[in-house]
Structure formats: structure tokens, C-alpha cells
Amino acid sequence: MADQQGGVAKPPFWNDPTIRSVAFQIIALCVVVGIGYYLFHNTQTNLQQRGIASGFGFLQNPAGFGIIQHLIPYNESDTYGRVFVVGLLNTLLVSVLGILLATFLGFVIGVARLSRNWLVAKLAMVYIEIFRNIPLLLQIFFWYFAVLRNVPSPRQSLELGDAVFLNIRGFYLPAPVFQPGFWVVPLTLLVGVIATVVVRRWAHRRQEMTGQPFHAFYAGLGLMLGLPLLAFALAGFPLAWDYPVLQGFNFQGGFVIIPELAALLFALSIYTAAFIAEIVRSGIQAVSHGQTEAAYSLGLKPGQTLRLVIIPQAMRVIIPPLTSQYLNLAKNSSLAAAIAYPDLVSIFAGTVLNQTGQAIEVIAMTMAVYLTVSLSISLLMNWYNRRAALMER
């Protein structure tokens, strides 16, 4: 027997599975690299032949056009590079606000959908079915052209106490002007937040040791609101307001939310909230009813049951699809171009591309941004998912 085993001839090297798999992988990689190089080379030759400028030098050139909304100081003599940052920040602004609003709305409607109150449940269902089934672009147009175009002109603004104005040009609010000495307020707020965390930990330990609950919520509220308010009063109210005033064609001063942002934000969050509501409903329904019964038999109140038993378990089911919705929302924000909201796609991949003609560089940068934003959301949510996942002990 032993003789026979030893007598098996070594297979020729082209039949050796290890060598084969390595060889095929090398060939596959070569093909990919080859195609990539070919595309790069071909593009470069074509660009050169047609005399189209290339490279990233254009980012230093002055842009020369105005942008309606910029979170950092910007004027027409700033560079294309700064336009990129302005567009990026506008995209992030609408994405972050959209995610917050959609999550809040989605959770409320998702829970309402399961309500025992017939009217509430049906209303939630109608909301979901309507907004989930109408294309997002149409919803954006609806908010922008049908709703926000019907508010009055600047001279006939709807107003609230000479401070808040609503007209077709936007929603005008008084802007805070920080006076010297205001720094104590954010400082005390920070102290309040840290103190709240400490108190909560202590309350948790006390309950585990003695079974005595402590209402950390109210203590935290007092620490986070009361402390800064007290500091604010002691510092002599170092805050003034810049009120919007009608001057010439428009309101000047104050803080304005432009209708383009409002329309995009409404459409994005209302649309995404419908999906999130369904995700929340499925998550809650995935928790077996036995859990609720067990919680009740332990004497937990319905609110406590929802908060302490159902939601933590539902979150495990909710988070992965929720991540996809957040990614969708961030990417859908590029529909801004349809209604003049100056996001990255609209002003950078649109106007800058048009002015410079450098499609490849501009589109590559834009794609890199969306990839980075999406991957960051993904990473963050995956980290949260790992924390919320079932711990096997």
C-alpha cells in the first residue's frame, strides 16, 4: 500500500491546482491593469489631440460666478477650488439635515403604523403608500414649483412680529450676533453634557446595585439647559439679534433659508421617511410578541416596554436597511440640480465643468466625494450596528 502511494507521479505543473489558480489570477490582474492603462493612455492622447486642457491646475483659477448659498465666505473672485468646497458643504448640509428629519419622521410614522388607534394607523399607511410610490424628482418639483412658488412676494410677506418673514425669496429669521463674553455659554453647555454623562453612569450603577431608579433625564435636562442659561444671565445676556429688514428689492440682514433648500429638504426627508417607516415597522414586528408579554409580566409599563425591550431588539433588524436609506438620501441630494439648489453636482459638476471643460477631472472629483461620503456613512452605521448587535455571552 505504502509503496503504491509513494509511486504516484507528481502531476505536470500545468495541472497543479495551486500553480493554476495563481496563474489565472495573474492573467486576470494583467488584463485589468492593461485595460485600465489603455483607457488612461487613450484618453490622454485624445485630450492632447483635441487640445483640451487637462490636469488639476484649474482649481486655482478664479471662478467668476456667484453662488446663492455658501456656508463659508465666498465671492466671485474666489477659485474653482473654493467652489468645490462650497458645493460640498451645501451637499453635506442638505444630507445631514435630511437624514435627521427623515429618521425622526420615519420613526414616528413607523410606530404610528402599528398603533391600535385605527385612524392613526391608516393615516400612517396612506402617508407611506403615497410618498413611497411617487418618484422623488416629481416630489421635489411639487414642493418647489407648486408649493413654495405660491407664497407671497417680498412686499406682501407673511410675518410674525417684525422678526420672522416668509416670502417667495425664502424664510427670513433673525440672526444671532454674539457679543464678547458669549463664550461662557458653549463652555457651560459642554460642562453640562459631561456632567450629564457622569450622572447617568452613576444612576445606572446605583440601579444595578440597589434597584433604586434615579431620574437621570431630568437631572441631565437641568444640567444641559439650566447651567448655560444661568451663565448666559450672569454674563449679562451677551447676545444681540440681527433682524431682517425689507430694503429695496429684498430683505437684508438676518438669516435666510432659501426655498431651494427647503424644497429639496422637504422632498428628500418626506420621501425617505416613508421607507424608514416601513423599516421601523418591520423591525418592531420582528421582535416576538413573547418579549412584550414577558416585559408586562415583569411589571414594566407599555412605554418602558417599548423603550427598554422592543426598540433595542428591533434596532438590530432596523439598522442595516436604515444604512441603505441614509446612503440613498445622500446620493439623491444630487437631484438638487433640478431646482437651482447649489449642491456639488449643480455648481461643481455642472457649472465649473462647463466653464473649464475639464470633464474627466471634475467628474472624478465629484465621484470621489460621493464615494467618500457614502463610505463614511456606511462605516459609521456599521460601527453602530456592531454595538447594537446581539452580544452572545
Binding site: I26, I27, L29, C30, V31, V33, G34, I35, Y37, Y38, H41, N42, T43, T45, N46, L47, Q49, R50, G51, I52, A53, G64, F65, G66, I67, I68, E76, S77, F145, R149, S153, I168, R169, Q247, G248, F249, N250, Q252, P259, E260, A337, A338, A340, P342, S346, I347, G350, T351, L353, N354, Q355, T356, G357, A359
Partner: protein, 341 residues
């Protein structure tokens, strides 16, 4: 192992590149002849320049330039297909080869002629940027527009001129930038902005599309030079020549008094200039790679420059724009074409 891998990768890449040779730009003219029609980039709806009627038939000055080129090349002005483009999309469409000629009231500037890899073939319309406001505002001059909200179309020279003009005059403005000219016009109408700015010809064209055109007025100031013309991409000089001379032929025929009605008569003319232009004498068409009767076809099927102007934006159209700068040089305007000789 790693080393052999690196060598293999390099050879594979090299082989790939050598096999394909240098990348070809692809001569536009050959491609156009092969497919049998011209793919023409036009605007997304601007009366007088390029506008599709309810049957989907395009008309306008910009459209007629493409039709004339088709008449010269194929002897049939109908061999054109149109791609409506927004201002933002137009250059990429031309650079990438999606269209063969961009005839979309595009301003000739140095950047576009160089860094964007385009060649402008001439000037079909001498224009300038203006402002349109609602009469209710009571504004009489652009100098009174400090603090106004201005609607513009994205990716245009007007966007840049606007900021220059306001900065030069120490005025502030809020820009609202739309992709489509229709949207910016609608926004003026609904009051999202106080002013609409664009080339004056466009303002007149947009005005007749509004619900109540009489409520709006174009201000007297013209703040820029906007020479509008067709463009082709770099890399095919023959194609560039054909589009360029199509335009010159239209201007030259007007100058010599040749129009769509009398062109057959003019074929019998004794005037050597006319004979050369119409291809009765000499081989001017062949030199361009065109049939010798190219000018006859252009004039017969599309008309001379004056006819095209009057039909689309002049007295024969709802726009009723005066010839002004666009009159022939011999009549006090700027339209001037090199001779066919």
C-alpha cells in the same frame, strides 16, 4: 514570485498598448459621411434660434445653420438630427463626439476656443447681454438693480458677465441659477427673482413665451459682447472648413443678391463672382470636399443669411428683431464674409 508577477503585468500592459497603437481621434467628416446625416446640438427651446413646434419640427437660425451644412454636404437640408442641450451640457456633448456641430446660440470666447478644445466657425448673430424686469418694479436702468435677485442660466457667459457688471458698479445681487432657460423665465414670472439676465435676443424670445409678455420690459443697457456662432471640436480641419464656409456662403449670397427665389436665374449670370460662388465656374466646392453646387443647394433649401434672419427672428417672425449689428457690412452692420475665390 512577486518579481515574476510584476514582469508579467508589465509585459501584458505593454502588449495591450502596442496592439492598439496610438488612439485615433476619428475624423468627424468621415463619420458624418458614413452615417449620412449631421448630428446637430441645439438649445432646449428658444424661439427664433432653435425651437421644436408641436409636430417636433425644429426651426430657427441655429437650426438653419445645420440644415445649410447638410444641404452643402448631402444636397439635402433634411439630413440633420437634433440633440437639444442645456447650456451646461453643450460642450461635453461636442467634446465627447455625441454631436458633430454645436449650433446653440453659443458665445465665442477665448477659453472655449482653446482650453475646451473647440473651434468656432463664425458668427451667426451679434448679441449682447441685457436685463428683463417686471414693469411693476418701475426700474428704468440696470444701474438701479443694487440688491436685486437675478435669475440666470447655469454655465453661460452671462453668469460671468453678470458678476463682473455688478462688481464693477459696486452693487450686490443674489444669483438664482437654473439649468434650463424656461425655468429661469418662469422664475421671473412667478417673482422668485426681480431680474432675468441673458443675451438680449434670448430675452425677447423668452418674453413671447411668458403668459403676459407686456408686463415685462427689457432694460436699455447692454453689458457685454456676445458673438454667437456654431462650433466644432478640434481635430478635423476639413469639417471645420465646411461648417465655416457654409456660413460664409450664406452671407456672400445675400451680399450678391442671390436668394432662394432667384438662384436658378442667377446661375445664368455673367458676373464672375456669382459664377464662382454658385459653382458654374471653377472648382471651389471640390476644394472643400463638397459637390460643386453646394452654394446653390444651401440657398435653394435654406436661403441666404438675410432670408434666414428675417424668417426666424426678424420681421417675418413674432420676435421682430431689427437687423442692427447683424446687417451686412455694406449696410452698416457687421456681417462680413471672406470672398469665394
Amino acid at each position: 514570485m512577486k518579481k515574476s508577477f510584476a514582469i508579467l503585468a508589465t509585459t501584458a500592459t505593454l502588449a495591450c498598448v502596442l496592439a492598439n497603437g496610438t488612439a485615433q481621434a476619428g475624423a468627424t467628416l468621415d463619420a458624418v459621411k458614413k452615417k449620412g446625416f449631421i448630428q446637430c446640438g441645439v438649445s432646449d427651446g428658444l424661439p427664433g434660434f432653435s425651437y421644436a413646434d408641436d409636430k417636433g419640427k425644429f426651426s430657427g437660425i441655429d437650426v438653419d445653420v445645420c440644415r445649410a451644412a447638410a444641404a452643402a454636404l448631402f444636397g439635402d437640408a433634411g439630413k440633420v438630427k437634433y440633440t437639444p442641450l442645456t447650456a451646461k451640457e453643450r460642450f461635453t456633448a461636442l467634446q465627447s463626439g455625441e454631436i458633430d456641430v454645436l449650433s446653440r446660440n453659443t458665445t465665442w470666447t477665448s477659453t472655449r476656443d482653446s482650453a475646451l478644445g473647440l473651434n468656432f466657425t463664425g458668427i451667426t448673430y451679434y448679441d449682447g447681454q441685457g436685463f428683463m424686469v417686471n414693469k411693476k418694479l418701475g426700474v428704468k436702468s440696470a444701474k438701479e438693480l443694487d440688491g436685486a435677485t437675478v435669475c440666470i442660466q447655469a454655465g453661460t457667459t452671462t453668469e460671468l458677465n453678470l458678476s463682473d457688471y455688478f462688481r464693477a458698479n459696486n452693487m450686490k445681487y443674489t444669483p438664482v441659477t437654473y439649468d434650463k432657460s424656461d425655468e429661469s423665465a418662469k422664475s421671473l414670472e412667478t417673482g422668485r427673482c426681480d431680474v432675468l439676465t441673458s443675451d438680449q435676443s434670448q430675452l425677447y424670445a423668452q418674453r413671447i413665451k411668458l403668459a403676459t409678455p407686456d408686463d415685462f420690459v427689457v432694460l436699455p443697457e447692454v453689458i457685454s459682447k456676445e458673438p454667437l456662432g456654431p462650433a466644432v471640436r478640434h481635430g478635423d480641419d476639413e469639417w471645420f472648413d465646411i461648417v465655416k464656409w457654409t456660413l460664409f456662403a450664406m452671407v456672400n449670397t445675400e451680399e450678391m443678391g442671390i436668394d432662394s427665389k432667384n438662384v436658378d436665374e442667377k446661375l445664368k449670370s455673367d458676373n464672375p463672382d456669382v459664377k464662382r460662388l454658385l459653382g458654374v465656374e471653377g472648382d471651389k466646392g471640390k476644394d472643400l470636399g463638397l459637390p460643386n453646387d453646394w452654394v446653390v443647394q444651401i440657398v435653394k433649401q435654406v436661403g441666404n443669411y438675410g432670408e434666414v434672419f428675417e424668417r426666424n427672428v426678424g420681421q417675418g417672425s413674432p420676435l421682430k428683431i431689427e437687423r442692427g449689428l447683424n446687417a451686412l457690412w455694406s449696410q452698416g452692420g457687421l456681417q462680413y464674409a471672406p470672398p469665394v475665390r
